[in-house]
Symmetry: C2
Subunit: 459 residues, 2 copies
């Protein structure tokens, strides 16, 4: 973190030089956007509706169709221009009705239920489940070293997210290889299934799903997340020298690809309508909880940001566009389709913004752009500080916009306070009451200010 | 906010010059403190105990006595030095069993209950309650202008906290005169009671208590907070031209002063034991909820900060002291007693820190000190950024330490994210599950880092 933070401070310092020629116009607009947002609190109402009417909206599901329709109607009701769907073909994985596991208590024939859920993309177990001894590991390397001793076993990945890191996303990135590649490495040594410690810093009984993968040429084996509390139970047994025996039953499956859509609407630019600033979020969510923070928040913030500008009568020079991307969670097909849509040919993208890190109080933006852009945007810090979001952090912006950013468009990822994010992420706990209406709105306000400044002043 | 933020940025800028001669020793210690804190998460366990064993701990109550004993035992268990109580005489107000109100529905003889609670310091109503027509006002001035038309009425103060302000404490300060002085101004024009809109930005059914006052020569009349939702009900009736009639019943009373204590413990300085850095919180809390954020958080963070340093084997040059102040809420007697205690004569205080703004993720510190100090501390920004708390904001530090700060000692008030604070403040909602263990711990970590740097490097 240290280098990142020092760099962030230095970026802040650059701004001070520019800020001395104070951008009073920018600050005045920022103040109006903030006041309007905090009085409206419009993002939260949409979030509640999305959670109520499309709670489960994994790509290809009926819920995803409802979410597409709802997002479109949000945009139409607010008088956005050019509201339309852009076709995306998406993978379709379904959890099915059965996902359970239990620990066999040696001796008495008793069994203890374990809190598990299928990882996204997993195959089913045979109907009677997979029953095997559990081998605990802490890394993919350790599995390779097990070799043939792993044959017939359930591999239990139990390396926690590192609690010592301030940035919980960094802790997540340091542990998530177990989930994404764990089944592949386990299958290579003959394991029959994997259990993966849930990606959360909380110790509780809630399993957290998320994407996992297979590769050609390696046998597919079923994969489930286990709650951190039950991971502790298994680990304690192993530490005591027991060899826990577990039965895992999953009925997940992958169906043929489905047709879905990115949902697009905009405020068309007054002077340069073909110059576009995108504010994005992803409309799909895992089928646990209601995807309030991941990424209902980002979707409703994008719509709210445009609607604040619209209701204030602010007519941007360039087009400011809200895009609800489909299929971030298990394919990124929406993010990949967006640059390829034929509509793009007549457009020039100026900047890509996205919020996909939860609906918490914003602190600033991750900036994925060259030093010229970074120097230029530093003058906007005082304006963004109206929303408490005046810090620019170098780093990756967000997944859906990454194909455009990779093509050279400056990318901005909203960076909210992140301590609580993984308590909820991809689990039944990700529901709107975990989101504070003012904190959520401040993210929309920050995006509206930044998009407006890019539109009016260029980048 | 704008000037404050620009000033904060400028303070940050000063740091960059200093930071170029990077304080690597400071950063290394900060990293150790952070890692230790985030693994221990010791503050939250103490907070749960405090909430369970001394949930209601208003000054002079049995709960306050329990809290004193518990804080002392926390310090003794952790091997702090010179653990002792410093006597404080405190006011003793008790809510009593009755606090209710209802709205008379004209015509049918029916009545609708209103969510109210006595304001701290209020007298009781007569046994059968006070029944009167309600007059809605939005300021103390407006009451003065009512003149004799207010005689015999219940004055209903309904100016909301301004939602447009980013800083919720600023919104609170802009509304709280209605609570603190409302009964005085209403009594001057002959009103028989006051209802005050709860000091919160949330719209819900929970009344929020807090201190109110009387002055000599003006009749004392009963005062209660009303939930924001029921404030809306009354206001809608007034807007419709109705004259709502309300009965208010309170049984609150003020008993003779009681003897209580500040609780003190420390890590004695190795080279300058008489030079003291205080980390404070206030141990008393309103008798609603369990005072988790106000200010259980500040108390347990102070103890945790010392305990992290101790368990890391960091032996400070100067004494670092935890002080649990008594009676912040309705008298500040503990804060006033501290400088006067005879033990102070042999001591020199170097800096006063306090956390009294909730257990949320810290962003930095309010600094109440002269420009020399502010320039000197700027070099610690990179170290404090390890806890996400590297921003210095000019402003008042915290109430309990204000008498020492007024005497010229540099004051530091932890400044956490504040959007949610007034949702819980002084109400039944202020309970530990509103506090995230990592966010709480980060406040303790920030205080430990700052106290350590003051101790080792001077200020």
């Amino acid at each position: 973190m240290r280098l990142t933070l020092v760099a962030a401070l230095l970026m802040g310092a650059c701004s001070l030089v520019a800020a001395q020629a104070a951008d009073t116009a920018a600050e005045a607009v920022a103040g109006r956007i903030l006041a309007a947002g905090l009085v409206r609190l419009g993002a939260y109402g949409m979030l509640e509706q999305l959670a109520a009417r499309a709670p489960h909206r994994l790509s290809g599901s009926a819920g995803a169709d409802s979410a597409v329709a709802l997002a479109r109607s949000f945009m139409l009701e607010r008088g956005f221009s050019n509201v339309h769907l852009e076709r995306v073909t998406v993978p379709r994985w379904v959890r099915g009705k059965v996902e359970k596991a239990y620990l066999h208590i040696r001796g008495g024939g008793k069994r203890m239920p374990l809190a598990v859920c299928a990882l996204g993309g997993s195959i089913a177990t045979p109907k009677g489940g997979v029953t095997a001894d559990v081998v605990e590991v802490h890394s993919l390397d350790e599995v390779q070293k097990l070799g043939v001793t792993a044959a017939g076993k359930i591999i239990f990945y139990n390396r926690p997210m590192d609690p010592r890191l301030l940035n919980t996303f960094q802790a997540y990135e340091g542990a998530v290889d177990q989930r994404s590649r764990g089944a592949i490495e386990a299958a290579k040594v003959g394991a029959v299934a994997v259990l993966v410690r849930s990606m959360t810093l909380a110790i509780d009984s809630v399993p957290h799903t998320g994407a996992m993968g297979y590769v050609d040429g390696v046998k597919k084996i079923p994969a489930a997340a286990i709650s951190t509390r039950d991971a502790g139970v298994l680990s304690a047994l192993v530490a005591r020298g027991a060899r826990p025996r577990v039965t895992l039953m999953l009925s997940a499956k992958t169906l043929p690809d489905a047709v879905s859509a990115n949902v697009v609407g905009e405020i068309t630019g007054e002077t340069s309508p073909r110059d576009v600033i995108v504010i994005g979020g992803h409309l799909d969510a895992w089928d646990k909880g209601t995807g309030a923070n991941d990424d209902g928040a980002g979707c409703v913030q994008a719509i709210e940001a445009l609607d604040i500008l619209r209701t204030l009568g602010l007519k941007p020079k360039r087009t400011i566009r809200a895009v609800m991307f489909m299929n971030e969670e298990n394919g990124l097909r929406g993010g990949r389709a967006y640059p390829l849509d034929s509509l793009r040919r007549a457009e020039t993208h100026v900047a890509m913004l996205e919020s996909d890190a939860g609906g918490f109080a914003p602190r600033g933006f991750y900036v994925d752009a060259d030093s010229t852009v970074r120097a230029r945007i530093a003058r906007w810090i005082p304006a963004l500080e109206h929303a408490g979001a005046g810090r620019f952090f170098p780093g990756r912006s967000a997944a859906d916009i990454s194909p455009m950013v990779a093509a050279g468009i400056p990318g901005f990822g909203l960076n909210p306070e992140n301590q609580r994010y993984f308590d909820y992420h991809h689990s039944d706990r990700d529901t709107p009451e975990k989101v504070n209406p003012r904190e959520l709105e401040l993210g929309a306000v920050a995006e509206a200010i930044l998009a407006w400044l890019v539109s009016e002043e260029g980048i």
